[in-house]
Subunit: 115 residues, 2 copies
């Protein structure tokens, strides 16, 4: 996945309505009307969000059926997960440091500086 | 993490320069000048990117030292990883379907429709 594609995916995900649409599609394919129902939004506004998701490759739309159901595409999400996995050691490392700090507190060292 | 915070994090990550800055900070704390070096960018432009990362909580900056070194903060990345984990079954599921399709091909069913 090219860096630009990753940026497009992350930008598309940076919106709670679009993440809500993906969560709805995780339950199964849905039409624009289905997807608009939980939101106080026009079909045009929902269609605009779908266009962003489709451009980012996060959804595909059938060209066969008249109602063009939307389908969740996992590949860009997998790419984001793969990218973020590089940083896992940082939060796991932080947790190690926190545990070490808590152990020092139990030993009566309030600043955790004895190590 | 509030939904808006997640959106802010994803928006901050949706830029290759900002992801490059995070990758550099993964190697250790760095100053604005250190971070500007790999890019053909002014310190002002880099500072603007740092402000976006700082607002999203992805970096913190020391207020003590005059050169205010930047530090990678793992917590927002962990939140993104946690959110995306909900979708893991989709790409793992897709792989299952791909494997099933390949098995059908080996059995001589070119469309994989016999299951």
């Amino acid at each position: 996945m090219a860096p630009d594609q990753l940026s497009a995916t992350l930008a598309a995900l940076a919106d709670p309505t679009r993440r809500g649409i993906l969560a709805q599609l995780a339950l199964g394919d849905a039409t624009v009307s289905d997807l608009a129902r939980p939101y106080d939004m026009s079909l045009a506004a929902v269609s605009k969000h779908l266009k962003v998701l489709e451009t980012a490759g996060l959804i595909s739309r059938s060209r066969e059926a008249q109602w063009r159901p939307c389908h969740l595409e996992a590949e860009p999400l997998k790419a984001v997960a793969g990218w973020i996995e590089n940083y896992r050691r940082f939060w796991e490392g932080s947790l190690d440091r926190l545990e070490s700090y808590l152990q020092e507190l139990q030993k009566g060292d309030p600043d955790g500086t004895k190590n």
